[in-house]
């Protein structure tokens, strides 16, 4: 889905945005769109809205030269839904399950030697946001309600949430060694305290414990889906090692890498809980797409915050990506306006003054705004996906998550 959007020209994206924001029928717009843009847009809308078997709340058609479609209102969210009530607050809805999740994770980290216990439990201290478990549990509840009209969370689904958090933490432990980070979440990183060696091996240990719990769910499909996460995580890291020479490839490469490093965990975990909830393939796909879009949106905002935020808000140093030689969305967008950035991207900002120059150029350009717009598109796509499930307080909460992702500042 997302790739279809991105292969469209900037004009088409702007047009889509305008329509979405203003509830306007595409047909009514008078602009200089080419037939090609309109055709692409209509195919995108048709494809996205009629993708699932269930009747979607949103349909849109486009009239263009010679296209046999008639214009129709694009239906947005229903007015009755109160999206700001506390009863649909994402974290509150799964509060009972989230409380004590870190304790339960610690029980699964079966370490006997006390140093290993310290290392493996280090990041399960309640300081994490638990965003991923929250999202996964919400999705599980939404899928369960869609399937059975019952408000419940299966033990196996809760396990998936725990496993996702463990995998995420293990990958952080490795990332900190690769990026030579000396602090995380306001305290010294594991490699800082125990050395690189034990940080890596400790991360492997946490990953192994997650695998044991995964196996104990006794569902081979779910094991395959979650194994895919670990494969994507590593491939994402490798993608970061290399860089594409051609500019057109860079953005796709960046999004692909973002999917693998961030979105894959959410997408596949959501898919896994849908499978465990005995949902059909269509629902599992919806869950996957939701997780994927939220993940990409999350990563885009993360990359954006790297440019706009300052040290004490984030808990980790900023302009970190540039310093690591990584060209993220704001930079890639800015490079369209300031081609001199391309050379800097190729040499991974290693020359004296590169980081500072790049930062300034990004600030001068629309890079940050364009990144935000793209994130908004992905959040909207996530919401569109959720609309295909039976309405419940959980689907509403998931919509709120899509907004929360956009409005976070750390």
């Amino acid at each position: 889905m997302a790739t279809t959007v991105l292969s469209m020209s900037g004009t088409s994206i702007k047009m889509l945005n305008y329509c979405l924001k203003n509830d306007v029928c595409v047909h009514g717009m008078k602009t200089g769109f080419t037939g090609a843009s309109l055709r692409r847009l209509s195919m995108y809308l048709k494809h996205s809205c009629h993708k699932t078997k269930k009747e979607s709340l949103c349909t849109a058609k486009v009239r263009s030269h010679g296209l046999p479609y008639l214009g129709q209102r694009f239906k947005g969210r229903q007015a009755e839904k109160d999206l700001n009530s506390p009863s649909t607050h994402p974290y509150t809805l799964v509060e009972n399950h989230l409380n004590g999740i870190t304790c339960r994770i610690k029980q699964d980290l079966k370490a006997i030697d006390h140093e290993l216990l310290h290392v493996s439990e280090y990041y399960f201290d309640g300081q994490g946001k638990l965003f991923r478990p929250m999202l996964i549990m919400l999705m599980a509840k939404a899928a369960n309600f869609h399937e059975t009209q019952m408000d419940r969370l299966l033990a196996s689904q809760e396990k998936i949430a725990m496993i996702a958090e463990m995998i995420h933490t293990a990958s952080l432990m490795h990332d900190d060694v690769i990026d030579a980070a000396d602090s995380r979440r306001g305290k010294p990183s594991i490699n800082q305290v125990w050395g690189q060696r034990k940080a890596i091996i400790g991360g492997d240990f946490v990953m192994a414990m997650a695998s044991i719990e995964l196996a104990r769910i006794r569902n081979e499909d779910v094991v395959s889906v979650v194994a895919q996460i670990t494969e994507d995580l590593v491939r994402g890291e490798f993608m970061q090692l290399g860089s594409k020479e051609r500019e057109e490839e860079r953005f796709t490469h960046y999004l692909n890498k973002s999917f693998k490093k961030t979105a894959s965990l959410l997408a596949n975990s959501c898919k896994a809980v849908a499978i465990l909830g005995q949902c059909d393939e269509g629902v599992a796909e919806v869950a996957f797409e939701y997780g994927k879009n939220i993940g990409i949106s999350f990563q885009l905002i993360d990359d954006l915050l790297d440019f706009t935020s300052c040290d004490h808000v984030m808990g980790k140093p900023t302009a970190a990506d540039l310093k690591l030689g990584l060209a993220t969305a704001p930079v890639l967008f800015a490079a369209k306006k300031y081609p001199e950035l391309n050379a800097m991207i190729m040499r991974r900002f290693t020359e004296e003054g590169d980081v500072e120059t790049a930062r300034q150029l990004v600030a001068k350009s629309d890079g940050v705004a364009e990144t935000r717009e793209l994130a908004q598109n992905h959040s909207r796509e996530a919401v569109r996906q959720i609309h295909t499930l039976t309405n419940s307080k959980y689907t509403t909460a998931l919509e709120r998550v899509a907004d929360m992702v956009l409005s976070r500042n750390k």
Partner: protein, 387 residues
């Protein structure tokens, strides 16, 4: 064969790594222990029985873009002292059987246990056919085991940056080497995970994951310091050595053997027997390796402080009996003088060998079973080593 081409290409890349560069590399794993001719013979006979030389097993993953990338990166490490170089060289060293014997033993025990005749309800083999008496899933498992072992070695070669000495070279080189080591180890581990998922057997996933957890735990025990070097803690007992050995190598081999039985749908008894075999042969191998520096003074004595003879000696003669600060030669000399310790260790090794062979009693006599017995005997026979 494409594997062969990639292998040759990459080994050429690394072929100009002189052993001299890596001699002082911070890596306590000894690669070049001399193997007896008995052992070599037993292993090469065994390879014929399982249908193909096992030295190419894990190389299939070398076909991937990622590892080709890694090979190029590793090239940049030439001239540095990062342990990854030594591991990579050992990994690609054609002909050294010591690398692949874990997989070999899993293949052998799979063949020895034979096909599953009764109780087929749990196992669907309609799609699989035995090749040389081994199911494809069991071969895959053997390969996964080797991948996991290699990944563990690679990750153990990660260097602590705060304890670098001047002789280790530049910080930047070590950092880079660490990065590559982490990524390639991760890649191998996830390849193992996806491979396990493909086996469609959650029991096997559980067993192998427990083995991985154990291998990682081995680095955090009281017998290892921060850099992975062996240490001799106060009040050490021989059971510490057994625990360490189990975590380090026994777990993977025993659970691997058991998983192979599970994949063929064998019953609990057969699984336990395979597990016993794997565990005891692992103990025997480690004991054999630990004894080598005491029989042949040319052998690399790294890691001697946590070796079986030293631990046994310290347990018997009290905590002050080994001066950990005196050189390796002195420690070796002290223990050799006390013949009892060495003899005790040899007898213990033979004991593990007997237990391993006993575990095989329930298996039908076959070529594969004899091969396993030969390997056990080669491990536990203490003849003079030809260097």
């Amino acid at each position: 064969m494409q594997v062969r081409k990639t292998f040759i290409g990459i080994s050429r890349l690394l072929s100009y790594i002189r052993v001299a560069h890596t001699q002082n590399a911070r890596c306590f794993v000894s690669w070049n222990q001399p193997k007896t001719s008995d052992w070599k013979k037993a292993v090469s006979e065994a390879e014929k029985i399982v249908g193909y030389p096992t030295s190419f097993m894990s190389l299939r993953c070398l076909l991937s873009d990622e590892l080709a990338n890694v090979a190029l990166q590793v090239r940049k490490l030439v001239g540095t002292k990062h342990p990854l170089l030594k591991t990579a060289r050992g990994f690609l060293d054609n002909g050294k059987h010591s690398l692949q014997t874990r997989g070999l033993m899993i293949l052998l025990i799979s063949k020895a246990a034979g096909a599953k005749s009764e109780n087929m309800e749990n196992v669907d083999h309609s799609a699989d056919e035995m090749v040389s008496g081994i199911y494809p899933s069991q071969r895959q498992l053997a390969e996964i085991t080797e991948m996991i072992n290699t990944a563990n070695l690679v990750h153990r070669g990660v260097v602590n940056l705060d304890t670098l000495k001047d002789t280790d070279g530049s910080l930047k080189d070590m950092e880079f080497g660490n990065k590559i080591a982490v990524l390639s180890g991760d890649f191998l581990l996830t390849s193992a995970s996806t491979g396990l998922a493909e086996l469609r057997n959650t029991k096997v996933v559980e067993l192998v994951s427990m083995a991985i957890g154990d291998m990682m735990s081995a680095e955090f025990t009281s017998l290892r310091d921060r850099n992975g070097q062996g240490v001799l803690p106060e009040g050490v007992t021989f059971s510490c050595w057994e625990r360490q050995t189990f975590l380090q190598s026994g777990s993977l081999l025993s659970r691997g053997c058991r998983s192979a039985m599970e994949l063929a749908g064998h019953n609990e008894q057969v699984q336990m027997a395979a597990e016993e075999f794997g565990k005891n042969i692992a103990y025997a191998r480690q004991m054999n390796e630990d004894l080598l520096p005491f029989a042949n003074l040319g052998v690399d004595p790294n890691g001697i402080l946590s070796s079986a003879p030293v631990i046994r000696y310290a347990e018997v003669h009290g905590p002050q009996s080994i001066d950990t600060f005196s050189g390796h030669e002195k420690i070796i000399a002290t223990i050799i003088r006390d013949n009892e310790t060495i003899e005790w260790c040899k007898e213990k090794c033979r004991d593990y060998g007997r237990k391993a062979i006993t575990a095989l009693d329930s298996f039908e006599p076959s070529e594969a079973k004899s091969a396993l017995v030969n390997i056990v005997q080669a491990t536990t026979a203490f003849k003079p080593v030809k260097s």
